[in-house]
Amino acid sequence: MIFDHDVLVIGAGLAGMRSALEAARNGADVAILSKVHPVRSHSNAAQGGINAALGEGDSWESHAFDTVKGSDYLADQDAVELMCEEAPADVIEFEHMGVVFYRDDEGKLGTRAFGGASQARTYFVGDITGQALLMTLYDQILKAGVKVYEEWFATSLYTEDGACRGAVGLESITGELHLLRAKAVVDAAGGCGRLYEPSTNALICTGDGYALAYRAGAPLMDMEMVQYHPTTLAGSGFLMTEAARGEGAYLLNANGDRFMKAYAPNKMELASRDVVSRAEATEIAQGRGVDGNVLLDVRHLGRDVILKKLPQIHEVALDYIGIDMIKEPVPVRPGMHYMMGGVKTDVQGATSVPGLYAAGEVACVSVHGGNRLGANSLLDTIVFGRRSGKAAAAYVRSIERARGGSALLRSEQERLGALLARPYKGETHAKVRLDLATMMDKYVGVYRDEAGLQTALDELKTLRRRYEEVAVGDKGRVFNQALQFVLELGYLLDIGETVIRSALLRKESRGAQSRTDYPERNDAEWLKHILLTRDSSREPRVSYLPVTITRWKPEVRTY
């Protein structure tokens, strides 16, 4: 079937729903397509909080400087300034919508400390901040009556005369393909943690939005900037919030030393994530780890603080590794967590493809540059979610309704039909995905070098050949998850290639890109963004953009 709307938002996490709400408030007929029910989105997993310079004695300039320094000067400073300036009003808006933020003794919003920040400016609800924001926002879109195509999977964007005019969606419950036509599309489909094993991300974080936009001609920017979170649980890789260190937790090596004093003597455990992750990787590599991990110790915070402010990680450690954090330190290690890079947008969320907007983790404005500060991702989603929704609603006012698209719908039906008919020759999506993700962690992880990255690129080519032989192990129509997983794997392979190529190109160490063969930051040559544009017949096209510097000249970065 064909459905028409003004604005189609892909993804129903915080960025997607905030965008949809704003588009609806601005008079657009808006619909959301999401492959899971909105409240299952991965914004849920953001634990620690959301940053804003709201407190007395704090200023948005200070927040912006911390963000720029945290980014290792790769963030565009105009975008950072705007985000930090608008942060207080956006956070307050969520308070007005009903988020049950923690309060201080005067009944005002209370803060906690977070990594890389010069002031305590992180607002929170226990360690379930993302969940609290997401649920509140979901209830707001219910109130606004926004249409949600729930458990629909986007297989392709629809472009007409070079402009984005909708998407083809696979309705899981019937197995039918539909064309969702729109005058503008907001891509808010979230991150791509499944590209790495292990990762803190949910199984649904398969980078759909990166690949959809990339295939539609939008460039991907700063894709080499992959954040490893310093505290992910040994084994499963589950997130152990930075709020633990914000509340005062220690990181210990096998000798029981707080090793951060050798790497960041001033900020210690609260240095930027890239700095802490590298320190841990070095400790482990030099034999001071505990079975490939370091220890996160919160015992001195006491039972009450742990149960009141860190209940979720206490529960996770108990459930999945059998450790009671009140009594014992818990083994953690750096694990893939977040993509700083993504679909290049301006501060309105507009990409270079007319009619296509992007917001949230999938987008690269860029406000995170080479390394994102903790509690800036929730902020990014609500500020740029709002901005993209407003811009899309304004854009559609002068646009005529699209009429075409049935040819794309037919060709997508044929493509999926052929995929389903492919005979089984021994390759499965699970095997190829695991090999891809393990390979990415090995060669494109915390430390990188030319030889390893070249190996990764070669292995990726092999994985692509294997992908061509992957069969779909379910032939049914209703809730055919295998078909969706095969399509997602295709997305991951595209994204993996852009990450490896960008990491190869950037011959320096900056933020999350740590090249052992180029250990220094090189502002003379590399104070710039790397953009890759897809070319279906050959290697992606490389281009560069200068970093926007407004008031903070790059300095040596120490914590």
């Binding site: 299952r40 609800v125 609290a132 649904i204 129509r477 809730f479």
Partner: protein, 337 residues
């Protein structure tokens, strides 16, 4: 370690593996639920593995046709609620070892909910109820300025965090005994959500909310079976939120309903005689002047009479009832009289 998993499979397209069992029906009150065919798998996993690990292992390496919803794997997203050995649980939070009974673990979609395929079930009943309690803040006026929060005590926010921890998995509703026989009941999760907004000091509509939650299908239709408290994987304890709502509603004057009359009649009988007068409890709860309602209870009364279950006509006080009265006086509140 080897684990054996027995999966209740359902496929609307009618395709099943030859090794699947014959269709098996559910007992009353779920006898209308489509029958399932059970298929057995063996997986080799570490001893601390959870049920979801087994299901993912099966789906990835043994049988790609097995449908199961999951995302976070750590009890945050609420996707993988299902029946495990006949009760509601999150698959990602249920240790295989603890759930192995007679050498196997049985998983299936709950028969109390519409099934879509295998372990994927329809959440429409859940979300319809959620929507029905006006699940958003109706902000108290005047709303503070764009850089200013509502000033409220942290304790007031903390009081709501228990409900805010809800991950909407549906475990409470799928095992709710009242819902099993009464579709109209708003159910544990929605009423917990109702409390979350009614008790929010920033909400302007507490009174309207309490009125609407006191109606049919609302707070008084809960039977206190505690299934929701037991099955909730996040400690939301929906029944406790419902009890708080009842107190708020009665205090706000919403007493003209069977629930309040039932509580009053119950308390009065115990206070005055030291025991429950079952003969007068029903008519008092229904309301003496509610002729239609009284007539509707007649068939039950006749059935009870036939089964010899009618309570004694003459109700006797226990000795020392005065001491019971004293207890009521000491506690104070609505029931002291």
């Amino acid at each position: 370690m080897q684990f054996t998993i027995e999966v209740g499979r359902y496929n609307p397209e009618g395709t099943y593996a030859p090794s699947a069992s014959a269709p098996q029906e559910f007992p009353v009150p779920w006898d209308k639920a489509p029958p399932r065919r059970y298929q057995t798998y063996t997986v080799d996993l570490p001893e601390h593995a959870v049920v979801l690990d087994a299901l993912i292992e099966i789906r990835e390496y043994q049988d790609e046709s097995l449908a199961v919803r999951c995302a976070c794997r750590s009890a945050i997203c609420g996707s993988c609620a299902m029946w495990i050995n006949g009760h509601a649980h999150l698959a990602c939070k249920s240790k295989l070892q603890a759930f192995t009974k007679d050498g196997k673990t049985r998983v299936e979609s709950p028969p109390s909910m519409p099934v879509i395929r295998d372990l994927v079930w329809g959440m429409e009943p859940f979300w319809k109820k959620h929507h029905a309690v006006t699940p958003w803040l109706e902000p108290k006026q005047p709303v503070p300025g764009p850089r200013e929060e509502y000033r409220v005590a942290n304790a007031a926010m903390d009081n709501l965090v228990q409900e805010v921890s809800c991950i909407n998995c549906g475990c409470c509703l799928m095992d709710c005994e009242s819902f099993a026989i009464n579709d109209n009941f708003l159910g544990p999760h929605a009423l917990a959500k109702a409390y979350r907004y009614a008790a929010d000091p920033r909400d302007a509509t507490e009174k309207q909310r309490l009125g609407s939650y006191s109606g049919n299908g609302g707070i008084w239709d809960c039977t206190h079976c505690y299934e929701c408290v037991q099955q909730c994987p996040k400690g939301v304890a929906p029944l406790e939120q419902i009890l708080k709502l009842r107190k708020m509603a009665v205090d706000a004057g919403f007493t003209n309903n069977a629930g309040t009359r039932h509580a009053d009649a119950f308390a009065e009988s115990v206070r005055e005689s030291g025991r429950l007068n079952e003969l007068t409890l029903m008519p008092k709860s229904t309301g003496f002047f509610n002729i239609v309602g009284q007539l509707q209870t007649l068939p039950s009364a006749i059935n009870m009479l036939r089964a010899g279950k009618l309570p004694p006509i003459v109700h006797h006080k226990i000795p020392g009832v005065q001491r019971i009265k004293t207890i009521f006086q000491r506690i104070g509140g609505r029931f002291k009289k």
